[in-house]
């Protein structure tokens, strides 16, 4: 998902940090407790960001992680991930989808006890309408991008430009009824695809696959999400919304699992400034904070050992993309040398300081079958060991490196610690004789060098960029290095290899996840393995972290942070420790 949380007000954060460093900012122990008795009141207060999108409740229109997640309390998704995000579990669906042998038809059966907060039964028609609403060009849903392999979806979403945008198929008439999502009975929906999408079941966890009520949306238009009009299908329903201040949701008694939902009320308090969010936590005015929004990297060291601090690797990566079309970096040996010349342990310890994980693969851990894929790299980079200067120098020589060349590194200076990462790379690579020139820029200005819209310009050598998983399949990462991805500026390295593409195409056709992982392993080897082309140097895997009072339990146990950063609110409860 496009997580911009850390970007918000980065400058301010820096200013505020300066003041806070002066002020000091210790952490008071919230006090742990072993009691599992529930508290008298099951009211949870959680902090989220206060960006404009916080006022958006229409599921397909949401895109920030905290907004999408808040909405998951209101609208039941078809599927969710289990605790360690290793597999899907049905939620509003009764079972995992039934997949036809050719992999082109997915049949989803909805729970027969699912109903809306106004008491009406949730039906297959609601799901069909939800899909149409998400694909409607007027909705302008970012995440519609993940639905376009459904028959007729691209045509409806493109309107008059269908012929230009939907080239890989026989065009439908572009009407919403022609979308390949149909109700075969009251509880069953059939999805027809244009091509095999082995991770399609995972896409069904997204907010664009949410059942929605046609009658409510048509009656109230854009106002359908007002607390007085909204009808929800999830464990909670919207009670009130105070702009830029707070959102209150209360338990939905019509929810099928209402008996198991412990929380009666959740208040989402919008606080963008991490320092303030943390202070509110110290003062006991919030029980928990949304991942990554309450602690600045500089403060992590201070709270790291506390019981209320939770962290886990995120399914996300940071790369130094190396432009294979730029003359300086055309030789794979030179790119390999640069990749192994970077001191990753120092990068995560001294620069990002968040407990991030040094990386040696394109795909991060947490993606199912990661261990298989990782074998492809054979740890050529030696991520945990730090740089191998002699080996790097040798590779540079083999690659015919000209010591007079300078490498331009582009990065977005308004987000996270990219500037400091670039600075460290500069000093690391100077040791192997590669001179870097830093080109700080703003996130969207990167598009002026081609990033995200067209092939990245040849004059650009290195771009520092991350990738957050949208669904948990290796394809999400390996797609970044296909020839097709060059034209749209997604393949920032401009890497194009016939062999790689052939393997990739095979992976797309392989429905069995284990077989597919074997192909991914080969793809990984072609990128980061000893004989790989190293179009991008994996740097580190960021960490999700937050503060959660110890009296907040998840399924009765200590709160654990998911690699996706998502929180399932119906699993949470508050123990009696809060009352004491």
């Amino acid at each position: 998902m496009s997580v911009n949380l850390r970007k918000i007000g980065a400058t301010l954060a820096v200013l505020a940090s300066a003041a806070f460093i002066a002020a000091g900012c210790g952490g008071d122990d919230e006090g742990g407790g072993g009691s599992s008795d529930l508290a008298a009141s099951q009211d949870l207060v959680i902090q989220i960001g206060d960006e404009t999108e916080a006022g958006v409740f229409d599921p397909p229109k949401t895109s920030y992680l905290d907004t999408v997640n808040r909405n998951s309390a209101l609208f039941a998704a078809l599927y969710r991930y289990n605790d360690d995000a290793s597999e899907l579990v049905p939620y509003a669906a009764a079972d995992l989808p039934e997949i036809s042998e050719d992999g082109l038809t997915y049949t989803v059966k909805l729970r027969d006890d699912a109903s809306w907060s106004d008491g009406k039964a949730l039906t297959a028609d609601d799901l069909v309408y939800g899909i149409q609403h998400a694909l409607d060009p007027a909705t302008g849903a970012y995440f519609a991008s993940f639905m376009l392999d459904i028959v007729g979806a691209c045509e409806f979403n493109s309107g008059k430009d269908a012929a230009k945008n939907c080239t890989d198929r026989e065009l439908t008439d572009g009407k919403p009824e022609s979308i390949g999502v149909t109700a075969t009975d009251d509880q069953t929906v059939e999805f027809k695809l244009n091509r095999v999408v082995p991770w399609f079941d995972q896409l069904m966890t997204l907010q664009t696959f949410t059942p929605l009520r046609r009658d409510v949306i048509e009656k109230f238009g854009d106002d359908w999400t007002d607390p007085k009009n909204i009808v929800t299908s999830g464990p909670f329903t919207l009670a009130s919304y105070k702009p830029k201040s707070e959102i209150v949701v209360t338990k939905n008694d019509e929810f099928w699992g209402a008996d198991d939902v412990e929380l009666d009320k959740i208040t989402f308090r919008m606080i963008s400034e991490p320092k303030t969010a943390y202070r509110e936590f110290e003062r006991g005015r919030i029980d928990m904070a949304f991942p990554r929004t309450a602690i600045d990297a500089a403060d992590v060291a201070k709270v790291k050992t506390e019981d209320f601090y939770v962290s886990a690797p995120s399914t996300e990566t940071q790369y130094a993309y190396m432009n294979t079309r730029s003359p300086e970096l055309a030789d794979p040996k030179v790119r390999q040398a640069i990749a192994i010349g970077i001191d990753r342990p120092s990068l995560v310890e001294n620069v990002t300081q968040r407990g991030d994980k040094p990386m040696n693969t394109i795909t991060p851990s947490g993606i199912p079958n990661y261990d298989v894929m990782a074998q492809g790299s054979q740890d050529f980079i030696g991520a945990e060991d730090g740089p191998n200067i002699d080996k790097a120098k040798g590779l540079l020589e083999e690659g015919g490196w000209d010591a007079n060349d300078t490498i331009d590194v582009y990065f977005s200076s308004d987000s996270g610690s990219a500037t400091q990462v670039a600075e460290q790379m500069q000093s690391d690579l100077a040791k192997i004789g590669v001179k870097l020139e830093l080109k700080p820029t703003s996130g969207d200005v990167l598009s002026t060098v081609g990033f995200g819209i067209s092939p990245v310009k040849e004059s650009v050598n290195i771009v520092l960029q991350g990738w957050v998983a949208d669904y948990l399949d290796g394809q999400n990462y390996y797609q970044l290095f296909t020839c097709d991805a060059v034209d749209v500026g997604l393949n920032t390295a401009n890497y194009c290899s016939e062999d790689y593409d052939k393997l990739y195409a095979e992976a797309l056709k392989t429905v069995d996840a284990d077989d597919r992982a074997q192909i991914y392993k080969e793809l990984e080897a072609k990128l980061t393995g000893p004989d790989g082309d190293m179009p991008a140097a994996p740097l580190y895997q960021p960490t999700n972290d937050t503060v959660v009072a110890t009296y907040v339990k998840q399924g009765g146990e200590k709160f654990k942070i998911a690699s996706t950063g998502l929180i399932y609110y119906d699993d949470l409860s508050i123990t009696a420790d809060k009352d004491s």
Partner: protein, 312 residues
């Protein structure tokens, strides 16, 4: 007087028009296009979004649409995800900022002018020095530092004092909480009043008409209030207009740190890449209208204080 006000009011129209065009042109010139920084968007989705915002229309048509919408009170859609109506977002938050600004302004004016008068009357005495010292301190400390310290609840001082712990109110839920942001914002502008009033008052006190009114037998108190203070208010009022606009725009850091659900914060988010062009335009235009209107009011007040100005 009426002609004077009308003339000033008519002048505001081209000023606002020029400022909208400048704002529009500057936003267009930013090396930033919405929806291009997100490589995850499919071409059809990106096309839809560009069409939704009319980004592919010719330059002047985009400006004409913008002004036409604006005249009808429509600020268009925010280009941030979720594309909410800018007008809606602003009406949700502007009243809070106005209230915060007005309260802080009133507080600063009341205390600031009072201290300025005392300072001038006791010029070069110990009271004057104390007031000047605190005014300079408040002037020198950036409001984000004050706000952050205020919220942090801790301040580390050298031994033997050690850590000083405190709990100050902040937030916007109740008036008890609101005191925090109002005080912090008020403190940041109070010194302007104190310094302005002090210097213009000192100047006024040396004028011949003061000696004259004293010679005519007017009491010192009446002389100060009716002549010295009244005349020294003119520069204060002239400066207070822009200062009020500054309170509204300058409070964004305070709003963010002290959790005030105001509009100023939106301005920062709007500039966070990708730039939310309609939001930037709307806030810029709103602020320029505000400044123009405030200046108009200032001109009117000054005309009342010194009728000679309107006659020129």
């Amino acid at each position: 007087m009426f002609a004077y006000v009308l003339r000033r009011a008519l002048w505001s129209v081209p000023v606002i028009l020029v400022s909208t065009f400048l704002a529009f042109a500057l936003v267009k010139e930013m090396p930033s296009e919405p929806f291009t920084d997100n490589p995850k968007l499919a071409p059809s989705v990106r096309d839809n979004l560009r069409e939704l915002y009319g980004l592919d229309d010719p330059y002047l048509k985009q400006y004409a649409d913008f002004v036409t919408d604006l005249v009808q009170g429509d600020f268009g859609l925010s280009t941030k995800p979720g594309h909410r109506e800018v007008r809606e977002v602003i009406t949700e938050t502007l009243p809070t900022s106005m209230l915060l600004g007005a309260c802080a302004f009133a507080f600063a004016a009341f205390i600031g002018i009072g201290l300025g008068v005392i300072s001038a009357l006791k010029a070069n005495g110990i009271t004057d020095y104390v007031i000047t010292f605190f005014a300079t301190m408040a002037f020198a400390l950036p409001s984000f530092v004050v706000a952050t310290l205020w919220v942090s609840g801790k301040i580390y001082l050298p031994p033997p004092i050690g850590t000083l712990q405190f709990e100050f109110p902040y937030g916007w839920d109740s008036w008890g909480d609101r005191i925090g942001p109002i005080l912090v914002l008020g403190l940041s502008i109070m010194p302007y009043f104190t310094r302005l009033v002090r210097s213009s008052m000192l100047e006024a006190l040396q004028q011949e008409y003061i000696t004259t009114s004293r010679a005519k037998g007017l009491s010192w108190r009446r002389t100060v209030v009716r002549h010295a203070l009244r005349n020294s208010m003119i520069p204060t009022v002239i400066n207070a207009g822009p200062l009020f606009a500054f309170v509204l725009t300058g409070s964004f850091i305070i709003e963010r740190i002290m959790i005030v659900p105001g509009v100023a914060d939106l301005f920062i988010d709007a500039f966070d890449s990708p730039v939310d062009s309609r939001m930037v335009l709307a806030t810029t235009v709103l602020l320029s209208v505000l400044i123009v209107v405030l200046n108009l009011i200032v001109d009117m007040i000054v005309a009342v204080l010194d009728p000679r100005i309107a006659r020129d």
